[in-house]
């Protein structure tokens, strides 16, 4: 096998942002959260990701603002380092090497130069016991610092970061593990340990899930598995401690948080309701219900104006003072498994898969952003564990993206299966899918596969579904039933079966003239036009698992994988087996734009990838050990612009990109070296200057600049151009009160021209010096003059600092206008 050094498997988008609790900066403008191997900085107002703080080589396990400098942030990672960043510029300041995996981090303003981290108790990493250690951060100017001075504070703590918290100005630290609450007082160097009973009478569990400390008062709040919140007081005595209980949640409290002034306590859990308790008046509660999905973390901004909740569906909600949801940062929603296949929406080219329960998510891959969720089930989701709800299990798009078919099912114990087949039409006006037809109980048993006829020229669209009940059904869009206002709707056109066998998969040929349905070990080929059984192909003794027609020049081939590790290729012209090979293929898929087929092949616990053309015996590309475990979901996503790669091995990536999901639900893709370089270059340019408020005007400017940078000539130069708004003259102009300025019509054309970046040529630069000389003399004359030609030399005082983007002539003009104005204004006052 050839080793393809330039094709790599990389993470691309869709990482978790709800893994650890987010941090809101002091000015409430940014939100920092751990996301995979980097820390993301979001703007709280525009929801845009501003920086990716990259550098860690393991999972980031905690983010913390530096107590002594609120413009810097610590992040800890499982790679055994703690890093200090400047988040406004996205610069790595320092790296502290700890040496063992860090699971969470906390610090207090009271303890200067010390951070507290949770590490495994023993040196071996498989240990279940964790300890809280204090790390003295060495003061040294180096980038990379070894921090080996560890001193254990508490042993046997939970690895959950919500279970350790500093109390009242850092005087003590509270930690919960299992049924115990432990409080350590730094002054007394003493810890108190309180335990709860295993279970209370009603069968609720007393296990502590989260802890919060009151910022002003000696009070610790603990959340429990059974939904209770306990408020502990008087805990500096071993015996005389007291606690009171609050109960609203019906399942475990997953997060607790006091507001900075300590007037309110926020709690959240599975119910996806944010509950606000008044401190000392606990009977008064406020609710913010229906936040979408279970709350995992709650954070409050230092000024108490913003609340921020992380949710289990990879979402961060920003709430203004418990009243209004002001922003939602949504990542790729990942459940335990993807029941629907991964698909690409032909219209928006976005990745489509299961999202929130009962929804399909449309995820833009190039922008790494969730576009929208389509509510398929359209039922109120009940946040209760153990409840069987409708799940979207199958989805399919037709070739043009104007129809979407979804299957939802709900299986209760000892009740019959509830199935719904829904067909959605794309509405041009609202740019979303609108429900057209609901078919309840389309089959008597689970639907195994579903596909649309992909022929682009046919007048009618056809959908085929196969089911465990031994039938496959063809659905067709029917004409309007009556004269009334009902539009066309879908109805069953044909029901087919073969010997009472169970159909497993179905596939239409590229031109839509053939339908292949596999019935266990037999592949039947039908003509959808007449519903005649044309031929049967079979490769006993095992059932066919996957079926796929070749594309373009290979459309005469039908490929199938069987359960006994065979990949077969039939030639449909001769109706005979062309070739077969022994491979344990877990997934076979065809690139819609080329002849290429990708086969994920499971071998010895890891997955290999083969890309091949059905007509050629040698694979186009192969890579061993793409990832560990079995890949069951993958998709070819068409590229927006074709890649021009001349290397033979990476040509298969030119038209489309192959994305796949690992068993741990990581979205991975293959990139080539050239593509990576391009991406790096573009990401550098994309860094947004955050010195300006995010206004629509600003965004407009930003876009303008981006276009400029995309220019192939300028893209080559590594350094960025100075921005036009740096120009002093413009700043001055913008800051001058409007009533002392001349009319807008006079200023406008000039101002707009100043924003256009003209190519500065060398000739102007050389003239620069002489012009300066001349300008001194000219200044006096210009005072009284109304009309002046644009060729006049400019003033030295301004021209020196002005950006090269702005021509000197324009600057001078601006200056002149200002001067003009001042002379005119007092005159008006005197008269």
């Amino acid at each position: 096998m050839v080793e393809h050094g330039d094709i790599r498997v990389v993470h691309r988008g869709g990482s978790k942002i709800n893994f650890r609790e987010p941090v809101i900066t002091h000015d409430s403008r940014y939100l920092l959260c751990a996301s995979g191997e980097c820390v993301k900085v979001f703007s709280t107002s525009t929801e845009e990701c501003i920086h990716d703080l990259r550098g860690h080589t393991g999972l980031v396990t905690g983010v913390l603002l530096k107590p002594s400098n609120h413009l810097q942030v610590y992040s800890c990672s499982a790679d055994g380092t703690v890093r200090l960043w400047d988040y406004t510029d996205g610069i790595l300041i320092k790296t502290y090497v700890i040496g063992c995996p860090v699971y969470s981090i906390c610090a207090s303003a009271n303890h200067e130069g010390v951070i507290f981290i949770v590490t495994p108790m023993l040196s071996d990493k498989r240990s279940d016991l964790f300890q809280l250690v204090a790390v003295d951060l060495p003061q040294s100017g180096d980038q990379l610092v070894e921090a080996r001075e560890l001193s254990a504070v508490l042993s046997d703590v939970s690895s959950n970061p919500a279970a350790i918290v500093f109390g009242r100005g850092g005087e003590y630290i509270a930690s919960a593990n299992g049924l115990h609450l432990e409080v350590y007082f730094f002054k007394k160097q003493k810890s108190y340990r309180f335990s709860l009973k295993e279970d209370n009478k009603k069968g609720g569990k007393n296990t502590v899930t989260c802890v919060a400390c009151h910022p002003k008062d000696d009070c610790i709040a603990t959340g429990h598995e059974d939904g209770k919140i306990r408020l502990w007081r008087n805990f500096n005595h071993k015996k005389e401690y007291t606690y009171s209980t609050l109960h609203w949640h019906h399942s475990a409290v997953s997060s607790l948080c006091f507001t900075p002034e300590g007037t309110n306590l926020l709690s959240g859990g599975m119910e996806s309701v944010l509950v606000q308790w008044r401190y000392n008046q606990e009977s008064e509660r406020d609710f913010l219900p229906r936040l979408g999905s279970a709350i995992t973390h709650i954070t409050v901004s230092p000024d108490g104006a913003l609340f921020c909740t992380s949710h289990s569906d990879n979402k961060i909600t920003i709430i203004q003072s418990c009243v209004k949801v002001s922003a939602v940062i949504q990542g790729l929603v990942k459940g335990e498994s993807v029941r629907t296949d991964m698909m690409v929406d032909p219209r928006s080219k976005s990745l489509v898969l299961n999202g929130k329960p009962g929804h399909l998510q449309f995820y833009s891959l190039p922008r790494d952003k969730l576009l929208y969720n389509l509510d398929i089930v359209q039922q109120e989701y009940i946040h209760e564990s153990g409840l069987e709800q409708f799940e979207v299990v199958k989805a399919a798009f037709d070739a043009s993206g104007s129809w979407l078919a979804t299957v939802e099912e709900r299986k209760q114990k000892d009740a019959e299966l509830e199935l719904n087949l829904k067909l959605w039409a794309f509405d041009e006006q609202t740019q979303s899918f609108v429900l057209n037809t609901t078919i309840s109980a389309p089959h008597e048993a689970r639907i195994t596969a579903m596909c649309f006829c992909h022929a682009t020229d046919s007048q009618t669209t056809m959908l085929v579904s196969t089911s465990k009940d031994g039938h496959f059904k063809a659905w067709q869009l029917g004409a309007p039933a009556h004269t009334e206002d009902e539009g066309p709707s879908w109805s069953c056109d044909f029901v087919g079966a073969y010997h009472g066998l169970v159909p497993e998969c179905c596939c239409f040929s590229a031109d839509g003239s053939l339908l292949a349905v596999s019935f266990q070990e037999v592949v039947t080929v039908w003509s959808p036009a007449s519903w005649e059984l044309l031929t049967t192909l079979s490769q006993p003794p095992k059932a066919v698992r996957d079926l796929c027609f070749g594309r373009l020049s290979c459309s005469k081939y039908l490929l199938g994988t069987t359960a006994n590790n065979l990949l077969c290729c039939w030639n449909l012209l001769t109706c005979s087996l062309e070739w077969s090979t022994s491979m344990d293929i877990s997934l076979l898929l065809a690139d819609p734009l080329t002849e290429n087929m990708a086969a994920f092949c499971c071998q010895a616990g890891s997955t290999d990838l083969f890309v091949f053309k059905p007509s050629e015996p040698r694979p186009v590309f192969s890579q061993k050990a793409v990832c560990s475990g079995k890949v069951t979901r993958a998709v070819f996503a068409p590229r927006e612009e074709m890649l021009e790669s001349c290397e033979e091995s990476s040509q298969w990536l030119n038209h489309s990109q192959l994305y796949f999901l690992t068993p741990y639900m990581d979205l991975m893709t293959f990139t080539t070296k050239a593509e990576e370089d391009r991406l790096m270059a573009s990401s550098k340019q994309l860094v947004i200057d955050d010195s300006v408020a995010m206004t629509p005007f600003y965004l407009l400017l930003g876009k303008h600049r981006q276009q400029e940078d995309a220019d192939p000539l300028s893209g080559l130069s590594a350094e960025r151009r100075p921005l036009p708004q740096c120009s002093v003259a413009i700043k001055e102009l913008l800051q001058t009160p409007a009533h002392v300025l001349p009319s807008t019509s006079f200023l406008c054309s000039m101002f707009v021209q100043s924003l256009l970046i003209s190519v500065t040529n060398g000739r102007e630069e050389t003239k620069h010096v002489e012009e300066e000389m001349e300008s001194e003399k000219e200044e006096e004359d210009s005072e009284g003059e109304m009309e002046s030609s644009t060729q006049r030399p400019e003033q030295a005082s301004l021209g020196g600092q002005a950006a090269p983007a702005l021509t000197k002539a324009q600057l001078r003009e601006l200056k002149r206008v200002k001067k003009l104005d001042h002379s005119w204004f007092p005159g008006l006052l005197h008269s």
């Binding site: 109120e380 009556h482 073969y498």
Partner: protein
């Protein structure tokens, strides 16, 4: 923040007739005006000239009604016995009528006394008509003859004695003064030409012919007799075109709508059917209280007049344009709507500051309770009498929703005798409905589980449980019968399939019926 998603109520396809243009057209009549006559109404004829009065022949009288009057404007009573077939001449001036006493009388519409009496028939004359030249009269009688009479001289011009039974219907051609057609109880239709001595065409209807109708083009002839309505093509020499059998008693009368696109037939089975004359499909159906003997449509279909055996004359007038629009007009007048739309069409000015107000979501009563997780109350509201009886699908949807939330058991439990009786009542009414069965069977099982300890404490509940049991037993019997039928059908399908496809089991559209059967089967279990 997402809002509460209301419970989805499944929409079931409406059974019964579909709304088509025809139903809309034929339903657009006012409530009928009913007038009691002296005896069975045998004939109704509209005057061809405005104001389109109509002559109603009933017992020994002929009444002439104006288009909107409920009292006769004119009455002819000079009959010694039952009068038959009062018909207007094409100028609306003269009226001819036969009589049981075999005398044919000719009246001036404005006069009272008969202008002419035509004597010659030996038995009752059931059919009279003017020829298209307006100077002659055709009569047909129970003495098996039909005759042509000259009006000015009151003399008999010709006698045709070809029928072998009573002549009970006949029409004259409106285009040719010499042609006329008669139908008789000897099952035949005969076309006569006054210029020849004999019939020129004979058609066999197969049953005693009761009524005849010529299309305005006179290329097609419609005959009614027995349960059949037949259409004949005269231009092809009397070839039968269509035979319709939509009534289940003798068809007595035929009529064409003014446009000629719809054919109406009235029958003793109390129905009037409307056919499309291009494909001869029934497009509409009227019901009446008694067997219908005569039917007539006013020009432009302004009114439908029907005479029945119980001597009632029913007149339906078409609704005027204002009246048919009245309903929507009333809705607009409601004040609540006006309040609702207030300010909707206000266009904001440039410097207006828009204060957006959150739109309040309207929720049904049961949804409000579901939103608060009040499961018992939600079920109670869904079981309110009106909902339970008129919209059982709402009740079923709420039960399904509760089941989905896993709280159906809580909602069903803890009911008193009255509440339980109401619940059981609903079950008895709907559990065997195939649309609701899957949901209600689980609910029924839960009810039995919860309340089995209280069986025997209340006579009301016990009686209802027994009824439920009885119902289910009967349903199981039905299902067994249906399965037997299905088995028979399967063998028939199998034997009808071509031999070469024996290994290929195709069943198009068959699964639907199997599906519903399975559902019902589940009820039985």
């Amino acid at each position: 923040m997402a809002s509460f998603k209301p419970t989805k109520v499944q929409v079931y396809p409406k059974l019964g007739e579909k709304v088509t243009q025809d139903t809309l057209y034929w339903k657009n009549y006012k409530a009928p005006v009913q007038i009691k006559e002296f005896g069975a109404i045998t004939n109704i004829d509209f005057s061809p000239v405005a104001p389109h009065n109509f002559a109603v022949t009933a017992f020994t009288r002929i009444h002439i009604y104006g288009p909107f009057s409920q009292e006769p404007v004119k009455t002819f009573t000079r009959f010694k016995d039952t009068a038959y077939c009062g018909r207007f001449r094409s100028d609306g001036q003269l009226l001819v009528a036969g009589c049981e006493d075999s005398v044919v009388r000719l009246f001036d519409v404005s006069g009272k006394v008969a202008l002419r009496m035509f004597k010659g028939h030996t038995k009752a004359v059931h059919i009279t008509d003017f020829t298209s030249d307006r100077y002659q009269i055709l009569t047909g009688s129970d003495d098996y003859t039909c005759r042509l009479w000259d009006i000015p001289n009151a003399t008999e011009l010709n006698t045709y004695q070809e029928h072998t039974d009573y002549i009970r219907c006949g029409v004259t051609s409106k285009l040719n003064r010499d042609l006329f057609i008669t139908g008789s109880y000897d099952h035949t239709l005969k076309l006569f030409d006054a210029r020849a001595d004999k019939s020129v065409m004979t058609m066999d209807h197969g049953q005693p012919v009761e009524s005849l109708l010529l299309y305005p083009s006179e290329g097609l002839l419609v005959s009614a007799g027995g349960r059949h309505v037949k259409v004949w093509d005269l231009l092809k020499g009397g070839q039968p075109l269509v035979s319709l059998k939509n009534h289940h008693k003798t068809v007595t009368c035929l009529c064409l709508s003014s446009s000629g696109h719809r054919l109406l037939s009235a029958s003793l089975d109390r129905h009037v059917k409307v056919y499309n004359t291009t494909n001869y499909k029934v497009v509409h159906n009227f019901d009446y209280a008694a067997s219908i003997l005569s039917l007539a449509l006013a020009p432009d279909d302004e009114s439908i007049v029907v005479g029945m055996t119980n001597s009632i004359l029913s007149i339906k007038h078409r609704k005027s344009l204002d009246e048919s629009k009245e309903i929507s007009g009333q809705q607009r007048r409601q004040p609540s709507y006006r309040v609702f739309v207030k300010g909707k069409n206000y266009v904001p000015k440039q410097d207006d500051y828009l204060v957006s107000k959150p739109v309040k979501q309207h929720l049904a009563k049961y949804d409000k309770q579901l939103k608060k997780f009040n499961v018992s109350k939600a079920l109670d509201t869904a079981l309110e009498t009106w909902t339970r009886l008129r919209k059982p699908e709402i009740t079923v949807a709420v039960i399904k929703e509760l089941d989905r939330r896993g709280t159906l058991k809580n909602a069903l439990a803890g009911r008193d005798e009255q509440g339980l009786a109401r619940l059981l009542n609903f079950l008895i009414g709907n559990v065997v409905d195939p649309r609701f069965a899957p949901v209600l069977v689980t609910a029924a099982e839960m009810i039995l589980d919860i309340y089995q300890s209280v069986i025997g404490q209340s006579s009301v509940v016990d009686r209802q449980l027994l009824r439920l049991q009885e119902l289910l037993e009967r349903e199981i019997d039905y299902q067994q019968d249906l399965l037997e039928v299905l088995g028979m059908l399967d063998t028939m399908f199998a034997s009808s399939l071509p031999r070469k496809e024996v290994n290929l089991h195709l069943s198009k559209r068959k699964t639907e019926s199997i599906n519903s059967d399975r559902e019902e089967d589940a009820v039985g279990q």
